[in-house]
């Protein structure tokens, strides 16, 4: 019996809608029963470029939200930044386009067994999986506060309805074009103290995750972060997506962020050794 990615399936899915939101595209994709297995933190891997594409590798995207729609069955939402050719191709797919997609992949955010105060921190499109997560946490009785940051307003993804499950939401932009000027990490120490935060959930650029970890380091605050490493396969067979992670004994090894992640315990990741020879 499979022990890795045991809920994953490779399916032909269909684009239900594609809407521009700031600099991103919100894609709703019909994945049928697969939606049931998708949890906040999981990601999907999508074939891009069509049959005669020179892009031979799948692209990874976090599952933003999951819903069961009476008309379409199970759908997932992705928030896609048009970055290079693959993501641009995806952003150009219209309603009705079919996508070769594998879902769900990777680890999910761990949910506390007790209702504790939690802080969700998102950078750029990293906010995408946090709204679905907020709903789950909220339904478990957690107090959920959220910080979102980006370089500029159009890179903040914060849908109206996403705020329902959130107690407070503060936005930071580096150019001050939305919310407060500054970095999303700036207010974290104060918030931890003020709100008695037990868990920080984070998703965004590696530098942001690392900065949060410096804050939670040597504190009681648990840091669950969704990392983002270049992935060739997304399913654990290529060994390209590794990060240095310590086990209970302090032994460091290179773990695959596609199957031992993307959600990892931030305190075990050896941030200073990322991209270095072990």
């Amino acid at each position: 019996m499979a022990t890795i990615n045991k809920n994953a399936a490779q399916i032909n899915s269909m684009v239900v809608s594609n809407k521009r939101v700031g600099q991103y595209h919100q894609l709703i994709i019909n994945v049928g029963d697969n939606a049931d297995a998708c949890k906040p933190g999981n990601f999907v891997a999508i074939n891009v470029g069509g049959e005669s594409s020179r892009m031979i590798l799948r692209r990874a995207f976090a599952i933003s939200r999951v819903s069961t729609n009476p008309t379409f069955g199970g759908t997932i939402e992705l928030i896609v930044a048009p970055h290079g050719q693959g993501s641009k191709w995806l952003c150009a797919q219209n309603e009705g386009a079919s996508l070769d997609l594998i879902a769900p992949l990777g680890t999910a955010f761990g949910i506390p067994t007790q209702p504790v105060p939690v802080l969700l921190v998102g950078g750029g499109y990293g906010s995408a999986p946090l709204f679905g997560l907020a709903e789950v946490l909220n339904s478990r009785g957690c107090r959920v506060d959220m910080l979102l940051g980006a370089s500029t307003a159009s890179k903040i993804y914060a849908p109206m309805e996403g705020k329902r499950a959130v107690n407070s939401l503060r936005i930071y932009t580096e150019d001050g074009s939305m919310g407060q000027i500054g970095r999303v990490t700036d207010p974290i120490p104060e918030l931890i103290a003020d709100l008695n935060i037990a868990v920080i959930y984070s998703c965004g650029p590696m530098a942001m995750l690392s900065a949060i970890n410096s804050i939670t380091h040597n504190t009681q605050v648990v840091h669950q972060c969704a990392v983002e490493e270049s992935m060739a396969c997304g399913v654990g067979i290529c060994m390209t997506c590794v990060l240095p992670v310590a086990n209970e004994n302090g032994d460091i090894s290179m773990l695959r962020s596609c199957i031992d992640g993307p959600v990892m315990d931030g305190s075990t990741v050896q941030w200073d050794k990322v991209g270095k020879t072990l």
């Binding site: 890795i4 031979i56 067979i237 390209t240 020879t277």
Partner: protein, 313 residues
């Protein structure tokens, strides 16, 4: 429906299908087992294992290139002991046919690895990945040095005795592939695996520095298929009796037939699995259908067909 003998042999090892994983592109096997039973393949070729556990190269370890990719993994792995203790029993439990790939930094390390494998049951063959830097000779890759290549295979042959077939895996980055192939066959290789990745590099356009942590990497995928087909054709031409495990950018049944016609008795699928975890099964099915459609009753009749057909002229 036509009946097709789809089986193949490499040395004295028999396989029900010619479609294998490629070393380093199927991890421990567990990851693919989620998508299809490993038993359905010809064989699982394991990732190259070394004596000791290794962390491999720093990230980034990959770059996509036009119709290909570069990797620089640096043979990350658990070491031979953990491999024998954990990975082999799993593959045996899945009834997969197993080809173990070994890699070393010295001639002695290869022999040591072979010695450890001698007593392990359930293995069909040993693939010897000699595309590794030879620490005893200025880091010159074994497979680029005819003499070092021979010595590695000779050592493994002596250690293994006559039982397990040895498949020597060669690098295409050489001036005279045929002479290296002849050397390792003389030294005792029963079969050849062609080709390992081609040395390449990508510069990151943001930093204007080499993109990969290891600077250079190995190019794989459809981009290198014409190089792989040429390598298999050349070597089969020179030594038509030596079975070849062909690989390099195979991603469809048509591609598989191409390299088989060039001279491959088996086909390893590497990079195609990254784009599609069920690629192995898709390719296997397509190849079967294609052979039948072309009127073959046995895979063996197609092996090296491109040479025979041209002799008829």
């Amino acid at each position: 429906m036509s009946s097709l003998d789809f089986s193949t042999t490499l040395g004295n090892a028999w396989f029900p299908s010619p479609i294998f994983t490629a070393s380093g592109c199927a991890s421990s096997g567990r990851e693919l087992a989620q998508f299809f039973p490993l038993h359905d393949l010809g064989a699982v070729v394991t990732k190259s294992v070394m004596s000791k556990a290794r962390n491999g190269r720093p990230t980034p370890r990959m770059a996509e290139t036009p119709s290909g990719m570069l990797n620089s993994i640096g043979l990350q792995g658990p070491g031979i002991d953990a491999f024998i203790a954990k990975d082999i029993p799993y593959l045996v439990s899945q009834k997969a046919r197993i080809i173990v790939s070994i890699a070393g930094e010295t001639v002695e390390e290869y022999s040591t690895l072979a010695r450890k494998l001698r007593s392990v049951s359930g293995i069909s063959a040993v693939e010897v990945n000699i595309s590794c830097p030879n620490v005893e000779n200025r880091g010159l890759v074994f497979a680029c040095d005819p003499e070092a290549s021979r010595r590695v295979i000779d050592g493994v042959r002596r250690t293994l005795g006559g039982e397990l077939p040895i498949i020597a895996k060669l690098s295409p980055d050489v001036t005279d592939l045929v002479s290296i192939a002849k050397g390792v066959v003389d030294a005792g290789a029963d079969a050849l695996a062609l080709i390992n990745t081609v040395l390449g590099m990508v510069i990151n356009l943001d930093t204007l520095r080499p993109h990969l942590g290891g600077k250079t990497g190995g190019l794989s995928g459809p981009a290198i298929r014409p190089i792989a087909v040429r390598a298999v054709y050349q070597v089969h031409d020179a030594m038509p009796k030596i079975p070849i495990l062909g690989m390099g950018g195979i991603s469809s049944g048509r591609d598989a037939l191409e390299i088989i016609a060039a001279g491959a008795s088996g086909v390893s699928i590497g990079t195609a699995s990254f784009g599609n975890p069920t690629a192995l099964i898709k390719i296997q099915d397509e190849l079967k259908d294609l052979l039948i459609a072309k009127g073959f009753t046995s895979l063996r009749d197609a092996v090296g067909y491109a040479h025979r057909a041209s002799e008829e002229e």
